[in-house]
């Protein structure tokens, strides 16, 4: 009964979404207050229905009800409880239901935190979000129903893909979806503003906190995915330019651009048309990402399940949503008038440069991701575009962007001259160059790349700190002054410093990492990067749903034991897939990473892969700092004040 009830709740949710879309839209058009006021309760009922539906699916997994096909395919009685729950979103059907649930959650949040916004505006926003919900719920019910039964029910399920049996995977998809789907709020505000024909600065102000929160989730979601790939795939890498990674990174780049252009639209009343377009793009890329991942048009490590029929459905939905938005844009945007002018050397233009660089970066990733499709469509053959393309295109765009970031914050709105800031700029350029060379000096060998990377990071930190202190030039620096400083002011500076930390991590890891494949018999050791890795043999282990071998490697530095590492090689019983569980000794300045290869010889020898990864933690640390910055900016008091 429970699965049927879950499906019924989903249908109820669909009906609610339908009401949420049609009634308020007509109400807003004809100005009927009663119809407008349907939006909030309908949206809340839709969320409730989806939450019930999702809870039913979780229950099916917890109870090991293998009469439900989706559970039979993705779970197993021997699977530990926490993974039975995360298995709910481990494959296509359930992850879509999660998508729909997250969208309903955002919609619900909009109904709660929008008391200050005119009802007619909110009615339109909720209608747009309801329309997207309809698309996804229809998609689930028509092509990917997670509640489908099978008869006879199998005694045992086929188990969850072992790659996904991991803590990172419990939280990575929900985080990422919060980010992806969160961009629908800014999108809905933009569409609502266009529908109303009121593209003033107000919609930008309302959208800003939502965009920032979605961006925080997206940042953390991507970082989690990268962290997971690092320790679980056992390749020692943290980013692979895989199509699915790109699918999450493109919306991030556009959302970053959107946050900056929203600031210009709100504060200065310019870039209005451009900001609307960015809001449409950011969410469109989320949908495109879903399409790429779920349709199987591109082969990827992540495409665990893909199906062209489903692809067609998403593509049609994409055409309606994105095509419709862009037609609306073509119709409404020409009427937009900028309300202010600015000079060439101004913060407006600096932010425009930021937008251009971010969009060029996103476009070149889109190109690299879709290029195999283009070649295919032209019938010239098929190709894969690998990391060399992405690295060589992406890095040259990012370096000027980060340099610009340090200058941009110093420039004033509307009109400024370089003479005013040149003294500071030169001073900090020289100091950061000196600090950059000095920092790189302490690394094993000096390279140009490291000097550039670290100098740029110092430059950002120095100019951000300087700019932060500018606020206290004419007032006393005291606890109360710090308390009165708006959160968004802290947020902006902190997020940018996060970028600097991230840059250091990426630079030093990619330049100074060492790796070595060795064959060690028990008792033998190998020295690398000043550490001595001593292999102490491997023994058999039996887990709940796997068997394998666990090695023991004792790491010493100057005869001091630093870490005892226990990498594992597992064979999961049901799917028969081998998995490498790397052992990692994490540290602020370096990670040691040991992965097991294959057993060699007759004396208990093993092929081992050793990594020394300097500063790799800084990559994710930087992302966390960016997230904190974004969170501070989004929770600034002025957004909750009436206006």
């Amino acid at each position: 009964m429970i699965p049927e009830f879950g499906q019924f709740a989903l249908v109820v949710g669909l009906v609610c979404a339908f009401l949420q879309t049609t009634v308020p839209l007509v109400g807003a058009y004809k100005n009927i207050p009663a119809w407008i006021s349907v939006a909030r309760p309908a949206a809340q009922a839709q969320f409730l229905s989806l939450a019930v539906s999702f809870a039913c699916l979780v229950y099916v997994f917890i109870q090991n009800d293998f009469s439900v096909l989706y559970a039979a395919q993705n779970s197993n009685t021997k699977l530990p409880l926490e993974f039975r729950i995360s298995a709910v979103w481990g494959a296509h059907e359930g992850s879509l239901l999660l998508w729909a649930l997250v969208l309903a959650l955002w919609t619900y949040a909009v109904t709660i935190f929008s008391k200050k916004i005119p009802d007619v505006m909110i009615a339109r926003v909720l209608a747009v979000m309801g329309f997207i919900s309809i698309g996804f719920m229809l998609f689930i019910l028509v092509t990917s129903n997670p509640f489908t039964r099978i008869f006879p029910a199998p005694l045992e399920g086929r188990d969850l893909n072992p790659l996904l049996q991991d803590f990172g995977l419990i939280i990575h998809p929900p985080m990422l979806y919060m980010g992806y789907v969160g961009l629908s709020v800014a999108f809905a505000f933009a569409i609502a503003a266009m529908l109303a024909g009121r593209l003033d600065a107000a919609w930008a102000r309302w959208s800003r906190p939502w965009t920032s929160i979605a961006w925080v989730f997206l940042t953390l979601g991507i970082a989690l995915g990268s962290w997971w790939a690092y320790y679980e795939l056992g390749w020692g890498g943290w980013w692979f330019w895989d199509p699915v990674e790109n699918a999450s990174f493109m919306p991030w780049l556009v959302a970053t651009a959107l946050m900056h252009s929203l600031a210009v639209t709100e504060k200065r009343g310019c870039f209005k048309a451009w900001t609307v377009l960015l809001a449409v793009f950011a969410f469109s890329l989320s949908l495109l990402g879903t399409f790429l991942v779920r349709s199987g048009v591109l082969t990827s490590v992540h495409s665990f399940a893909s199906d062209p029929e489903r692809g067609l459905f998403i593509l049609i939905f994409l055409i309606i949503v994105v095509g419709g938005s862009l037609i609306l844009y073509a119709w409404r945007a020409p009427a937009i008038k900028s309300t202010s002018k600015f000079k060439f050397f101004s913060k407006e233009n600096a932010l425009l440069m930021n937008n251009i660089l971010l969009i060029v970066a996103a476009a070149s990733i889109l190109l690299g991701t879709l290029y195999p499709l283009v070649i295919d469509a032209l019938g010239v053959g098929k190709i894969s575009v690998g990391p060399p393309y992405f690295n060589s295109v992406f890095v040259p765009i990012m370096v000027p962007l980060i340099v610009l970031m340090g200058v941009g914050v110093l420039i004033r709105w509307k009109e400024d001259n370089f003479q005013r800031i040149q003294k500071h700029v030169f001073k900090y350029v020289v100091i950061s160059l000196a600090l950059g060379v000095l920092s790189a000096w302490f690394m094993p060998h000096l390279t140009i790349g490291a000097v550039i990377g670290v100098t740029v990071a110092w430059w950002v930190v120095l100019s951000m700190s300087f700019n932060f202190m500018q606020r206290f030039k004419n007032r006393e620096l005291s606890i109360s002054a710090l308390q009165k400083t708006p959160r968004s002011y802290y947020g902006m500076h902190i997020a940018h410093i996060g970028i600097a930390v991230f840059t250091v991590g990426v630079t030093l890891t990619s330049i100074y990492s060492t790796e070595k494949d060795v064959m060690l018999t028990p008792g033998q050791s190998y020295s690398m990067a000043g550490y001595e890795f001593k292999f102490a043999g491997a023994k058999r282990i039996v887990g709940p749903n796997y068997q394998g071998e666990r090695g023991k490697v004792i790491v010493t530095q100057d005869d001091q034991v630093i870490a005892v590492m226990e990498p594992e090689k597992r064979i999961y019983t049901v799917q028969r897939s081998p998995m490498t569980e790397a052992a990692i000794d994490a540290g602020l300045t370096r990670d040691l990473f040991v992965a097991m290869g294959e057993p060699r010889g007759t004396e208990g020898g093993w092929a081992l892969r050793l990594y020394h990864k300097p500063y790799i933690r800084w990559i994710w640390l930087g992302c966390i700092i960016m997230g904190i910055g974004g969170l501070l900016a989004a929770t600034d008091k002025r957004y909750s004040k009436a206006k």
Partner: protein, 178 residues
């Protein structure tokens, strides 16, 4: 009132949609290869282990073998690699690696890390021979019978299921032929 500047995003999007439609109909895993049923295109390529030696498909006349296209930069190859190692352990057929658009250094390191299932690896650094084989997405695997005819082409990573349900029966069938 409509201006080109504002319609442009819609036009670009329309082009993208056409592209995605074509992409959708060209399912990367299902396109039949024109090479199936034809003899293997001849080539002579240096071997990875010893570039002074060369490999050509005629050397394997009379044997059932597979040609696995891979590269160290290809993420799908890492996914299928354990499966190939598994197949190699069964010693059912000669396994030839075809290292595509890669450097010998990277390829050697990669095999040292993930294991080497291949009896021999041919290196096609500029991808010119790969072109004759219609390589369009790495990894790809060709199955060749005793007469040197390509009998099947698997596109994308080989999964454990592909191996047990499709490929092993196929190999047995090819070996039974005279």
């Amino acid at each position: 009132m409509l201006k080109l500047k504002f319609i442009l995003p819609f036009i670009i999007f329309s082009l993208l949609v056409v592209l995605l439609f074509v992409g959708l109909s060209n399912d990367p895993r299902k396109v039949p290869s024109p090479l199936v049923g034809k003899p293997t295109p001849g080539f002579e390529l240096p071997q990875l282990k010893d570039p002074s030696k060369s490999f050509n498909p005629d050397m394997l006349k009379g044997k059932v073998w597979l040609l696995n296209i891979w590269a160290s930069w290809c993420s799908g190859c890492r996914v299928e690699h354990p499966i190939l190692n598994e197949l190699a352990k069964r010693k059912m057929l000669t396994m030839v690696g075809f290292n595509y658009k890669d450097t010998n250094d990277d390829a050697t390191k990669w095999l040292a890390q993930f294991g080497n299932p291949y009896d021999v690896v041919a290196t096609d650094q500029d991808g010119s021979v790969g072109f004759d084989y219609g390589v369009y997405g790495v990894p790809e695997t060709f199955f060749i019978d005793k007469k040197g005819i390509i009998r099947y082409k698997h596109i994308g990573p080989v999964s454990y299921k592909d191996l047990t349900e499709k490929l092993i029966p196929l190999i047995k069938q090819l070996k039974a032929e005279t």
